[in-house]
């Protein structure tokens, strides 16, 4: 039964990801992305990580995806029904494969430092203690990095307007 639920959720997520790759209409692409992100949240729940699942839904489905959709609707009103499908490109594929390899390597090393996030209230406490205790400098640095990235995007897009 548990294996069945895992594969069912995984299938939903893969179907969503596949839709993102092949969709020609922006709206279908967004729907696929939403399905994929919800599927990932479902997998977190399946492995008893409600904190991660709720954060995933809050930040990615409710926040990031809504902003994507918002930007696309505001900026690409004319093209959205005839958006170009993504063509296969060796460069893009190798960049994606490279990122995947880096992630796998990094996750292998993490093993020892990982925390058990599967035990209800204790898990919330444990995650909080780690993020605001031992890993506080790293946590703040990541926040600073995201902020710099945001300002950079604004600067670049404003620069394009001026040209």
């Amino acid at each position: 039964m548990s294996a069945v639920s895992f594969w069912l959720i995984a299938l939903v997520a893969i179907a969503g990801a596949w839709t993102v790759l092949v969709a020609r209409e922006t709206i279908r692409l967004i729907a696929g992305l939403g399905t994929f992100l919800l599927g990932i949240a479902g997998l977190y729940l399946r492995f008893a990580m409600p904190l991660l699942a709720a954060s995933q839904v809050f930040l990615y489905v409710g926040g990031v995806l809504a902003l994507f959709l918002f930007a696309i609707m505001a900026l690409r009103r004319d093209e959205d029904r005839a958006g170009p499908a993504v063509r296969f490109s060796v460069v893009h594929a190798s960049v994606a494969a490279g990122i995947f390899a880096v992630l796998v390597t990094a996750l292998r090393d993490v093993g020892a430092a990982s925390v058990d996030v599967t035990a209800g209230q204790d898990a919330v406490d444990a995650v909080g203690a780690l993020l605001l205790g031992r890993f506080l400098p790293a946590f703040e640095l990541v926040g600073g990095l995201l902020f710099v990235a945001l300002v950079a995007v604004l600067a670049i897009s404003a620069g394009e307007d001026r040209r």
Binding site: I27, I30, G34, P50, A54, F58, G62, F70, G120
Partner: protein, 319 residues
């Protein structure tokens, strides 16, 4: 919980939440018409049944029988599904609300986050529904609605965070049990921020610029009719129900330690008081302009919630 039991629980919970919202809409529409009539020195519905109680039932029959129109310029797939994308997350979020001392349908350690996170999915339904109508008014309404819902999530989350810090738990049942009477004056600012941003999340007056009838006809659901329109409207009343019940449980102490049906009655009384407050606000204040609405979220409510959080943080250090 095994897979089959979990599935059965999910179906039962979904049906229960859906029926609760339908009931809330039946009662809520009648209550709103009575409250607004009293504010405007009218009587409101009084022909069908005692005090006009059966009026909304009659309206429901009319709505179900009405033609379900698909506009010729609409994109059928997204257009037909958008109402459910708005409705289902709100129904699901209702399950995380504690209904009596020590009991919530879905009792998890991250319940408060769950309650705030899941309804944010309905932003997608608002955007897609407005866009798929193939109509400028609806698209603008969808964009405005989404901008508003995403913005007001920030002060709303921060206001609930104050209560989480005080209670030392994200589990709504635990937050309700930990509540003390002196939290009420201490967190009054958070409560005000919660109510105002919840009203904005529901796209209700005075924050109903996304569906302003005088300039956008009816915003993102301008092209919907019959049962699909009714689902949008029921989602609004479902959001009122969820926000009021959660507000009563977390900010007002809910059932104050009373278990069972009596505890639920206390909680429901507080929630109905909040619902009435929400309606009173709608029928008293004129609509905000789009930029005023954004300024209120980012320049007033968010700083207020942050100051409240700092104060609570200082107090919590002494607890």
């Amino acid at each position: 919980m095994s897979g089959a039991a979990g599935l059965a629980w999910g179906v039962a919970g979904g049906l229960g939440a859906g029926s609760a919202i339908a009931l809330a809409a039946l009662f809520g529409v009648w209550w709103e018409r009575k409250v607004s009539a009293r504010i405007q020195m009218r009587f409101g519905p009084q022909q069908a049944g005692p005090f006009g109680l059966l009026q909304t039932l009659a309206d429901t029959v009319k709505l179900v029988l009405k033609e379900d129109i698909l506009p010729s310029r609409a994109d059928p797939g997204p257009f037909l599904r958008a109402p459910l994308v708005v409705f289902v997350p709100i129904a699901v979020s209702l399950l995380a609300v504690p209904l009596s001392a020590g009991w919530a349908p879905l009792d998890t350690s991250v319940g408060a986050l769950f309650f705030l996170a899941v309804p944010s999915v309905s932003v997608l339904g608002v955007l897609v529904g407005g866009w798929a109508s193939g109509n400028t008014y609806a698209t603008i309404g969808g964009l405005r609605g989404a901008a508003q819902m995403v913005s007001y999530e920030v002060p709303r989350t921060l206001s609930v965070l104050s209560m989480v810090v005080l209670a030392g738990s994200m589990r709504p049942v635990g937050m309700m049990a930990a509540w003390r009477w002196w939290w009420l004056p201490l967190t009054a600012v958070a409560f005000v921020v919660y109510i105002v941003s919840s009203i904005a999340e529901m796209n209700r007056g005075p924050f109903d610029i996304p569906e302003a009838e005088s300039e956008l006809v009816a915003g993102y659901f301008a092209d919907y009719s019959g049962i699909r329109w009714a689902i949008f409207m029921m989602s609004e009343y479902g959001a009122i129900l969820a926000a009021s019940l959660f507000g009563a449980a977390v900010f007002l102490g809910g059932s104050h330690g009373v278990p069972g049906v009596a505890g639920f009655a206390i909680l429901l009384t507080e929630a109905i008081a909040i619902v009435t407050l929400v309606m009173w606000v709608k029928w008293t204040f004129p609509r905000f302009r789009s930029d005023q609405l954004m300024a209120l979220a980012w320049k007033v409510l968010t700083p207020m919630a942050l100051v409240q959080l700092a104060v609570v943080g200082l107090v919590a250090a002494w607890l």
